[in-house]
C-alpha cells in the first residue's frame, strides 16, 4: 500500500516538468532557464520581449485522438448589414428577410444619435403599417443595450420582428425626430433563416507570397443558391484594405489572391476577407455579409535540415537547424517518440523550445524530460514528429 502511495505521489509530482536548457548554440542569446520550483523566475517588465531560452515538456494524450494537420478557415453567415443616413431612414429603407423573427440592431456612427425602437414604424409585406415599435416583440433601448454589458457601441438599439409578421420585404421608417445627416449601420441577423453564406479558405495560416484561396457559396437547406453579385476586400489588422476579385466557380464564387503585400502588422491579429453577396430567394433579393479571418505573416525562418538527436538513451537532445532571415525569437515544438520493448515507436511527450536567434544558420536545442521518458518505458532510438517552427515575434506559424 505504501509503495502504491509513494508511486502515485511521485507520478503526480512529475507529470509536468521543465527541461533544463543547458544546451548552447552560437546563435542562442541569453541565459538558460531552469524550471526548478525552488528557482522562481523574477517578474520581468511586461513590455520586455523574452530573451531567455525556455524549454518545456508535458505528457502527450492519446495520439490517435490528435490532428496536427492545418485546418481550413471557415465562417458561415445568416446576417447582413446596411449603412444608411438619417434621411434615408426617415423616408424608409427596404429590410428584406428570408425568415420570421429577424433581429435588427441600429448603431449610430457618432455613438450618440440613437434611433430608439419607439421612433420606428414598419410596413409589412402585406402593406400593414405598425407604428411606435408595435411590430417588435423585443425592444432594447440604447440605455438598456449599454447596461447589458456586451460591449455594443454606444448609440445602438435593437429589436426583434414579431414572428407573426413572417418574412419578406419590409419597409423600416424612422419618425422625424432623427437627424438627416446622421449615419447608421443596420445589422440584420436572421437566426431562423435557411439561407446561409459559407466562406472557406484552404488553410488558416498563410505566409507572404502564398495564394489565398477562398470559396464563397450560399446554401439554402443544403442546396447551392445562385449568387447574383458578390464583392469583397481584404482588411489587415491595422485597417488597411485591399481589393479582391471573385471568379465564378461551379456552384459559387472563388478567390485566388496572391498575398504579395507586406504582412508586417499586429502580431497575432488576424486578417479578414470581408464579403458581401446578393442572391435571390423566392424572387426576392437577400443579402449576406461575412468576415473570414486568417493568419498572414512574413516567412522569417525555415527548418533548414533534418533534426539531429543525440545524447544518452534516457536523456536525448535534439538540435533543430533553423535558418533565420531576421534576428528574432523562434520556437520549435514537436512530439518525441521513443522505442518500446517491442521495437515500436511510442509517443512520449510534447516539447516546446524557444530561443533568440541571430539571422543566418543556427539551431534550437530541444531537451526532453528524463522523468517522462522513464515513466513511458521507452528508450533509443528516438524520433520527432509533428515538428513545427514558429516566429514568436510575429506570433506566426512558419511550418507545419
Amino acid at each position: 500500500m505504501k509503495h502504491i502511495l509513494l508511486t502515485s505521489m511521485i507520478l503526480s509530482l512529475s507529470t509536468v516538468s521543465v527541461a533544463n536548457d543547458t544546451a548552447s548554440s552560437k546563435s542562442q542569446i541569453g541565459n538558460s532557464y531552469t524550471g526548478n520550483p525552488a528557482d522562481s523566475a523574477p517578474a520581468q517588465p511586461d513590455s520586455q520581449r523574452e530573451m531567455k531560452p525556455v524549454s518545456y515538456s508535458f505528457p502527450i494524450n492519446d495520439i490517435n485522438q490528435l490532428d496536427f494537420s492545418q485546418k481550413q478557415a471557415h465562417v458561415q453567415s445568416r446576417q447582413y448589414m446596411l449603412d444608411v443616413s438619417g434621411a434615408q431612414l426617415k423616408s424608409g429603407i427596404a429590410l428584406n428577410t428570408s425568415a420570421k423573427g429577424a433581429l435588427v440592431r441600429i448603431s449610430a456612427f457618432d455613438g450618440k444619435s440613437a434611433v430608439e425602437p419607439q421612433q420606428l414604424s414598419l410596413k409589412t409585406p402585406k402593406g400593414q403599417v405598425l407604428k411606435q415599435g408595435k411590430a417588435f416583440d423585443t425592444l432594447v433601448s440604447s440605455s438598456a443595450m449599454q447596461k447589458n454589458g456586451m460591449g455594443f457601441q454606444q448609440g445602438t438599439t435593437g429589436f426583434k420582428l414579431d414572428d407573426t409578421l413572417g418574412a419578406g420585404r419590409f419597409t423600416l421608417k424612422a419618425d422625424k425626430g432623427i437627424a438627416s445627416h446622421a449615419k447608421y449601420r443596420i445589422n440584420v441577423f436572421e437566426k431562423n433563416s435557411d439561407t446561409e453564406m459559407h466562406l472557406t479558405a484552404n488553410k488558416s495560416n498563410y505566409l507572404s507570397g502564398e495564394v489565398l484561396k477562398v470559396d464563397a457559396r450560399v446554401f439554402n437547406q443544403g442546396k447551392a443558391e445562385h449568387i447574383v453579385s458578390i464583392k469583397g476586400r481584404l482588411v489587415s489588422p491595422t485597417g488597411k484594405t485591399f481589393d479582391i476579385d471573385f471568379n465564378q466557380s461551379k456552384d459559387g464564387y472563388s478567390v485566388a489572391k496572391p498575398l504579395d503585400m507586406s504582412a508586417h502588422s499586429v502580431p497575432g491579429a488576424l486578417w479578414e476577407l470581408h464579403t458581401e453577396a446578393q442572391l435571390k430567394v423566392d424572387g426576392q433579393l437577400i443579402q449576406r455579409n461575412g468576415q473570414l479571418p486568417f493568419a498572414f505573416a512574413q516567412q522569417t525562418a525555415k527548418v533548414s535540415s533534418s533534426p539531429v538527436i543525440t545524447g544518452q538513451k534516457q536523456s536525448p537532445v535534439a538540435a533543430i537547424p533553423v535558418n533565420a532571415k531576421t534576428d528574432g525569437r523562434y520556437e520549435v515544438r514537436a512530439v518525441l517518440y521513443g522505442t518500446d520493448q517491442s521495437g515500436a515507436l511510442k509517443p512520449v511527450m510534447v516539447t516546446h523550445s524557444a530561443a533568440n536567434l541571430a539571422a543566418g544558420e543556427g539551431a534550437i536545442y530541444m531537451k526532453f524530460d528524463p522523468e517522462l521518458i522513464h515513466q513511458s518505458g521507452v528508450s533509443a532510438p528516438y524520433t520527432l514528429k509533428q515538428l513545427q517552427l514558429r516566429d514568436q515575434g510575429q506570433m506566426a506559424v512558419m511550418s507545419h
Binding site: L6, A41, Y56, N148, G151
Partner: protein, 284 residues
C-alpha cells in the same frame, strides 16, 4: 540501515506534502480591472470561496487589462507577473486558478505556450487545476455581433474607434483559428499540461416575478435574455454551452449541482448564486 533511509525519504515526502501551500487566484474576464475584488467578483463571493483554504489569506485577485489580446504583456504578461508575485510572496506550491469567461483563455494561453515567457513554466508547474467558470473557449457569436455593429471601424479605422481586441479575439472564427494553432485543450489538440475544468451555464432566467433573477443583478440578466437571441438554446446569455465546454473537461453543468436546479447566467457564474461559492469552497 537501508530501511531507515527508506523511512526517512518517505517521512520527508509526507512532510513535504503536508506542507503543500495551497493558494487561489481569481482571474477576471474581458475588461480592464483595477479593483476586481469589489467590481468583478464581489467580496462576499471571494471570502466565501477562500474560507475553504487551509490558510484563507492565500488568495489573490488579479487586476489586468483583458481588453487586450490574450498573448500581450497587458493580458497574459500581466497575469504572469501577478501570479509570480503571489507565488513568491506566499510560497504557493499548489495553485488553483478560478477564471471567469475570457480569463480562461488567458490562462489557457499561458499553459499552451510555455516558452513565450520564462515566467510561464514555473506558474504551470505550480498550478493544481484551473476551474474555468463559463469560459469562452470557442468564442461567442455576440462578439461577432459587437464587431459587426461597430461602425467606428468603417468610419475611422478601428484603431481610432472602439478598441477592444479581446472582443475581436472572441469572435467564433477567430477563436477557432487560435484554438487550432495556438491553444491546447480543444478537440483534436494536445491536452493542456494541467487540468482545465469548466462550469457551464445553460440558461438565463429574467422573469421579474422570479426572485432568482435578482442574483447577480436583475438589469444585467434582462440584457442577457435579449442577447440570448444570438445564441443556442443552451447558453448562459453570453456564451453557448458548446463554447463553455470546448476546452478541457466539464466539472459540472449548472443545474446538475446548483441549489434549486437554478441555471447560472453569465453574470451569475462569478457571484454568490445558488451555491456556486460553496461548491468552489469545497473543491479547493
Amino acid at each position: 540501515m537501508f530501511r531507515k533511509v527508506l523511512l526517512l525519504i518517505a517521512a520527508l515526502t509526507f512532510a513535504g506534502l503536508s506542507h503543500a501551500n495551497t493558494g487561489v487566484a481569481f482571474v477576471h474576464g474581458t475588461g480592464s480591472q483595477s479593483d476586481a475584488y469589489n467590481d468583478y467578483w464581489t467580496g462576499s463571493f471571494v471570502q466565501s470561496v477562500v474560507s475553504g483554504l487551509p490558510n484563507s489569506s492565500n488568495y489573490t485577485v488579479i487586476n489586468c487589462d483583458f481588453t487586450q489580446y490574450m498573448w500581450t504583456s497587458g493580458a497574459a504578461g500581466c497575469l504572469a507577473g501577478q501570479l509570480t508575485t503571489f507565488i513568491n510572496q506566499k510560497n504557493i506550491t499548489s495553485l488553483t486558478l478560478i477564471t471567469h469567461s475570457n480569463g480562461g483563455n488567458v490562462a489557457r494561453w499561458i499553459m499552451s505556450n510555455p516558452t513565450w515567457d520564462s515566467r510561464y513554466p514555473n506558474i504551470i508547474n505550480r498550478i493544481d487545476e484551473v476551474i474555468a467558470l463559463a469560459p469562452s473557449s470557442a468564442g461567442t457569436p455576440l462578439a461577432d455581433a459587437v464587431i459587426d455593429g461597430n461602425v467606428f471601424e468603417s468610419a475611422l479605422g478601428w484603431l481610432l474607434g472602439y478598441k477592444n481586441d479581446a472582443v475581436r479575439m472572441q469572435q467564433e472564427a477567430w477563436m477557432a483559428s487560435y484554438n487550432a494553432n495556438w491553444l491546447y485543450g480543444t478537440s483534436g489538440r494536445p491536452a493542456l499540461p494541467k487540468p482545465f475544468r469548466s462550469v457551464v451555464g445553460t440558461d438565463v432566467e429574467s422573469a421579474i416575478w422570479d426572485g432568482d433573477s435578482y442574483c447577480g443583478g436583475y438589469s444585467q440578466n434582462v440584457g442577457l435574455e435579449f442577447t440570448q437571441n444570438w445564441l443556442d438554446s443552451c447558453s448562459d446569455g453570453f456564451l453557448n454551452c458548446s463554447s463553455q465546454n470546448a476546452a478541457g473537461s466539464v466539472w459540472f453543468y449548472d443545474t446538475s449541482k446548483t441549489y434549486g436546479d437554478e441555471p447560472l447566467s453569465h453574470a451569475q457564474s462569478r457571484r454568490k448564486c445558488f451555491g456556486l461559492d460553496v461548491f468552489l469552497r469545497n473543491r479547493i
